[in-house]
Subunit: 425 residues, 2 copies
Amino acid sequence: MKVNHVPTYTMSEDEVSKIVKSCDTHKVPIVPYGGATSIEGHTLSPNGGVCIDMSMMNSIKALHIEDMDVVVEPGIGWMELNEYLEPYGLFFPLDPGPGATIGGMCATRCSGSLAVRYGTMRDNVISLKVVLANGDIVKTASRARKSAAGYDLTRLVIGSEGTLGVITEVTLRLQKIPQHSVVAMCNFPSIKDAADVAIATMMSGIQVSRVELMDEVQVKAINIANGKDLPEIPTLMFEFIGTEAYAREQTQIVQKIAAEHNGSDFVFAEDPEAKKDLWKIRKEALWACFAMEPNFEAMISDVCVPLSHLAELISRSKQELDASPLVCTVIAHAGDGNFHTVILFDPNIEEHRQEAERLNKFMVLTALSMEGTCTGEHGVGTGKVKYLEKELGVEALRTMKRIKAALDPNSIMNPGKLIPPHICF
Amino acid sequence: MKVNHVPTYTMSEDEVSKIVKSCDTHKVPIVPYGGATSIEGHTLSPNGGVCIDMSMMNSIKALHIEDMDVVVEPGIGWMELNEYLEPYGLFFPLDPGPGATIGGMCATRCSGSLAVRYGTMRDNVISLKVVLANGDIVKTASRARKSAAGYDLTRLVIGSEGTLGVITEVTLRLQKIPQHSVVAMCNFPSIKDAADVAIATMMSGIQVSRVELMDEVQVKAINIANGKDLPEIPTLMFEFIGTEAYAREQTQIVQKIAAEHNGSDFVFAEDPEAKKDLWKIRKEALWACFAMEPNFEAMISDVCVPLSHLAELISRSKQELDASPLVCTVIAHAGDGNFHTVILFDPNIEEHRQEAERLNKFMVLTALSMEGTCTGEHGVGTGKVKYLEKELGVEALRTMKRIKAALDPNSIMNPGKLIPPHICF
Ligand SMILES: Cc1cc2nc3c(=O)[nH]c(=O)nc-3n(C[C@H](O)[C@H](O)[C@H](O)COP(=O)(O)OP(=O)(O)OC[C@H]3O[C@@H](n4cnc5c(N)ncnc54)[C@H](O)[C@@H]3O)c2cc1C
Ligand SMILES: Cc1cc2nc3c(=O)[nH]c(=O)nc-3n(C[C@H](O)[C@H](O)[C@H](O)COP(=O)(O)OP(=O)(O)OC[C@H]3O[C@@H](n4cnc5c(N)ncnc54)[C@H](O)[C@@H]3O)c2cc1C
């Protein structure tokens, strides 16, 4: 259908292609730039060069309601897109940092609180258009929901962090706004109990749409930042969706699981505004932490393990965090086995920085020892480069480097990111 | 947990690596070979060479019940795997041809009747081990459910049809066997009505687990082959899963949608055996066609379009098929917009072959004109090579060729498949 959405700027795909081609000719580095909410130094320019502000391509090109998909330019934000989609009863279920753009979300293979139900960016993109280093404009797939037509270029570009090309168009799979949702909070005497309930819920086969875990420190930060008085103990936040009867049925099953693990009675957010408010608070949890230490910086760890290891990972990490002189909060997309900590430190104090690094490393190595990954959703950037070889082995990295060299022989696309510098082939 | 499963053979990953390396040194082509159920000439050896029978690596290496995943060698069949998993209340939801192996299923990016609910092979593989042309054994990902650690090598190999490497290990995401399922059939005066109901069902947001469509000719073939007396008119087969209450609720909603489009009352398969029998009959529908023309061969088309175009694609194809002198059946994973025809022809009659080709081409070009794909699930092999450029453009194919050349410089891995021979860069 014809789209009623006025883009703010009008940079075109052809212009991007010309810029990139010219940079390739002159061997000038390019850093694509979206919402700049990424966390691992993705948009740093260690070698200088040209930064392309993709927020200048932010139009909605076509909405196909019957196919539940939308074709957008990469610079549009997920929040802006969802505002546009709401009147049609549709939404896009990935919710990373407020301000993130669809292009940046593709490039980082992001996820968020709803990934447990709808999958990550990997699962929700139908096709892309990408400008490669040589200026070629590549269409990665048709608009069909599924296809077996050749290599999965869509997925190759998703998670490539601007190192293979510039995304200039994205076709996204959309979801129906659920008829009904139940949002509930539940408290636990220990963080292990909370993690165990998240695991047991997933194992029960129940399709929750969110299972978010916070420790007592994170809840405290939220209370301070938002003037709330939530009980400052380990907490799970759930969302159940579907028809009213179904959501109620699911809620009862999970309330029972929680009770078996020392959980409190569920406290429900009833009206739509209260629900929205709760998820907004959760989404902004990182910023809430600064309410505790306004002049500090935050280092954010992001590991993910097979679900059966989550409780142990969290318990071991929590012990280490509690013993540290730094203030640290725990926050997890628990249903996926995805675990974050926010480590607050004074950037002017070298020991602080080192301690933050030590804690981050402790969590990564613990996750890797449990067959996990050094990044569940934030990506590699420069921050996680040093852990990739331990996680995947040198053969995998050599393979990535070969692909990179084949598509970007002059290494102009976001150099210094994702692939460790020592890898050669 | 320790696995109680005795593999039939014991070829090892190291042996595969040695074979491949040696072939690379001597520039000898390799064709990996799984269950040989693929449909587009995937396992032909146009240049001779070595065929590696992957069914010789068919052990189950580890089952992680709490993580709902399993680590297998590639030669195990999906049916054998599901027999093994059943006592644990788990299953793997991809169901291509009976006899297909997990390795072949990865290599073709297959799907099947349950993809509408669980996604395709792309969505259900956690990680792979792959022997590349140089003999490197590459681990593509950790065992975590989600990860943003580098290029998505897992997805690059899924759908690569043996042209990038030999898959030697697969970690699969499993599903709980649903508590309850409802299986129902519904008849329609026209195939367009049936297609419209499939579309309306998907648009309603209902999570069906199967929506399979058959035309009157396909039902007739099934009746002859299986001694059944199903009404020989266009038919939809549905499956709804979940708790009993939920499955019932969903069934009622869809029954109502069907009634609005001239559908009959639902006929239910009640006991577990009757349900299994029905899906078995559906799965073997291709073979049933030979009951009508025992000495003929079958050409099977496999296109997929955005759902809103399905009814029109089917109507236009059906007109063309009905006007043809050849016997043709229609069969579709309708919820995905994925549409097959089985075209029966006498391989000894040149006009037959040409007519089958013409019909196949008609359907592909019609699908492409609707932003669809030339293959929804069967893959490219040699059969669809000629349509790829029209679907994706030469830039995409050049990109694929570059990747292929980077990972397999001597072009020993399943040469002649997937990438059109005229593409150069
Ligand atoms: C408060 C907060 C909460 C967050 N919560 C989550 C969460 O729950 N889940 C999660 O996954 N992440 C989360 N994040 C991280 C962040 O929001 C994501 O990584 C997001 O996907 C980044 O998108 P962006 O548009 O800001 O990208 P940027 O930061 O602008 O760029 C990220 C990378 O993508 C590349 N890039 C950007 N646009 C393009 C393009 N068009 N083509 C090619 N490459 C491009 C850049 O070069 C860079 O490498 C959070 C961040 C914050 C600050
Ligand atoms: C009756 C019938 C019904 C079918 N229904 C469906 C359906 O519903 N959905 C669907 O998607 N398909 C369907 N198919 C097609 C077929 O079953 C799939 O394509 C299947 O995935 C092929 O698996 P296989 O083990 O038989 O592979 P093979 O035919 O042995 O090989 C297929 C390709 O994979 C490569 N390969 C095999 N093993 C490996 C390995 N270990 N490493 C690397 N490459 C490898 C081969 O080189 C070849 O290119 C059907 C086929 C039949 C006969």
